[in-house]
């Protein structure tokens, strides 16, 4: 499905969506509260069928955090990027691990690196960082580590 058709389909599903068409793929901005139901639609709708979550990450914009989901369909071979703005002080979003199993690991990574709390995640613990790093979020822009970081 082409970007135009995707756009039409998505605006039928979620009329409030804001689109952003700078890049190669269709970018859509949605609210965190819409995410669980919308994700179910994306995965299960026959004409969308986004079954492959190939990248899940977060970006710290200093004023807010943005969750970025890169989705692809192995049936229709179309791609889409979903962005969800989160509050920087209390970032919370529903987990996608029930829909795409790969999200379980990626969300754990985002949890420790950005401090995003994934609601209903089956196993939200530190994955990469050792014990004692709870609450410190190294990939946030204001993270300081005088010992290990070398400023150029």
């Amino acid at each position: 499905m082409l970007n135009e058709a995707l756009k039409q389909k998505v605006s039928e599903l979620l009329p409030t969506t804001a689109f952003d068409e700078g890049g190669e793929w269709l970018n859509i901005n949605i609210e965190a509260t819409d995410w669980p139901a919308f994700a179910q639609h994306l995965r299960n709708d026959g004409s969308l069928f986004f079954d492959y979550l190939f990248c899940l990450t977060c970006v710290d914009w200093k004023t807010h955090l943005t969750m970025v989901y890169h989705l692809s369909s192995t049936k229709h071979r179309h791609n889409m990027v979903i962005k969800i703005k989160l509050d920087r002080d209390k970032p919370e979003i529903e987990t996608a691990s029930g829909i795409w199993r790969t999200a379980e690991f990626h969300e754990r990574e985002v949890f420790e690196m950005f401090g995003v709390n994934f609601i209903n995640h089956p196993d939200l613990r530190l994955l990469i960082l050792p014990d004692g790093w709870e609450g410190k979020n190294p990939l946030r822009k204001d993270f300081e580590d005088p010992v290990n970081m070398i400023k150029l």
Binding site: G23, W25, Y52, C55, V59, E104, F105, L127, L139
Partner: protein, 383 residues
């Protein structure tokens, strides 16, 4: 087996962090363990010899490459990425260079594109050779490792001549490749192809056709196509389950749309299918090299680019097919000389996440075999 469990239960009582009543044995495989090929740490729960649960603990070689890249320029950060998946260093560099080129909207000369594909395919063969040997070693056969290294060494020599390095090549730069190929390059690659064609049947005789090997691999660690996609698997792991996902086919980059090759698919989904995919992929890589080696177009090996690269404000995503699967490079630029945020979607990280799913109910020996067929490179997982 039952008597074994009883005795194991007694041994359990001396250790603190285990459940008291279930009779399970918790074992730490790694971070220093011969089968993890690096510093992977798996906490496995056993009942006798049967695995009940596998839980990976990562981060022993986490260098925070994503954070480092935020303070490196677009020319510099490529060199760090050689250290991620060090067995497909070329392809990591290539993906990064392609992503920067996408932002700069630079046209890469034909010659550079072909050289890139040649190098990437040689890298893929070298990586699969090492995997083949290491996986046989996981199963307890040592000899294949040395036989695989005989061929891999030839590739390393070819790389050394042209790139000046054997493992972390740093050969791809935004706009093309760093320098032109060595005058002997074409001849030596042809020699290698000849050597490889002569030796490949040894691989089948020594390992593929071996009855013990087949018994160890067939029907073990079965992963369905749906699960493979849902777990985000890519590369030979997904293709072994019949999930078509070759980035070179679906999102061709560089000269991949000019060559003929087949995407290798197996439907078994077990360890043996993953094994066959990789062995046959080496053949396909040889095919690609054969098509290109005599047809390297004349011209520049690098496009003219500025000394200091500045990407326009925006987001750029580039996929590439490494030896382990789909590598994604996601650059967010604010218009400066360094990326604002960079994310590497490493294939190993997703492929590892499936281990707990497929290993449940298997024996310890099977777990090691499965880890072998997932082809885990730990620096790629940890980044």
């Amino acid at each position: 087996m039952y008597r074994e469990t009883e005795i194991l239960t007694r041994a359990n009582q001396s250790t603190a962090h285990e459940s008291e009543d279930s009779g399970d044995l918790v074992i730490n495989v790694g971070p220093q363990h011969p089968a993890t090929h690096g510093v992977l740490h798996l906490v496995i729960t056993l009942n006798g010899e049967t695995i009940k649960n596998v839980e990976p603990h990562l981060g022993y070689i986490h260098r925070s490459i994503e954070k480092m890249c935020e303070s490196l320029t677009y020319r510099q950060f490529i060199y760090v990425t050689s250290r991620m998946d060090y067995l497909s260093a070329h392809i990591n560099n290539q993906a990064c260079a392609l992503c920067v080129e996408k932002g700069l909207q630079v046209e890469v000369p034909q010659r550079a594109q072909v050289i890139r594909v040649l190098m990437a395919e040689l890298t893929r063969i070298a990586s699969h050779e090492l995997w083949w040997g290491a996986m046989a070693m996981d199963l307890g056969a040592f000899t294949p490792f040395f036989h695989a290294f005989r061929e891999r060494e030839t590739i390393n020599d070819i790389m050394e001549e042209t790139c000046g390095a054997r493992l972390t090549m740093n050969y791809m730069v935004p706009g093309g490749v760093m320098m032109d190929i060595h005058p002997h390059f074409q001849q030596r690659v042809k020699d290698f192809i000849q050597l490889y064609r002569k030796k490949i049947h040894e691989y089948d005789e020594l390992v593929t056709g071996n009855i013990i090997f087949q018994n160890r691999m067939k029907g073990v660690g079965i992963l369905s196509a749906e699960d493979a996609i849902s777990y985000g698997c890519s590369g030979p792991v997904a293709r072994g389950s019949g999930a078509s996902c070759d980035t070179r086919k679906y999102y061709p980059y560089d000269a991949y749309n000019k060559v003929q090759f087949d995407e290798v698919l197996e439907t078994g989904g077990d360890s043996f299918a993953r094994y066959l995919v990789r062995v046959r992929e080496m053949q396909q890589s040889i095919n690609i090299i054969e098509q290109l080696i005599d047809n390297i177009p004349e011209g520049d090996f690098q496009a003219k680019t500025k000394a200091v690269l500045k990407l326009p404000k925006g987001e750029f995503y580039q996929r590439a097919e490494t030896a382990r699967g789909e590598l994604g490079v996601y650059i967010i630029s604010e218009g400066g000389t360094t990326p604002y945020r960079i994310k590497f979607r490493s294939p190993g990280f997703s492929n590892l996440s499936v281990l707990g799913h497929i290993a449940r109910g298997c024996k310890i020996g099977d777990l090691i075999a499965m880890m072998g067929t997932l082809d885990l490179v730990i620096p790629d997982i940890d980044r």
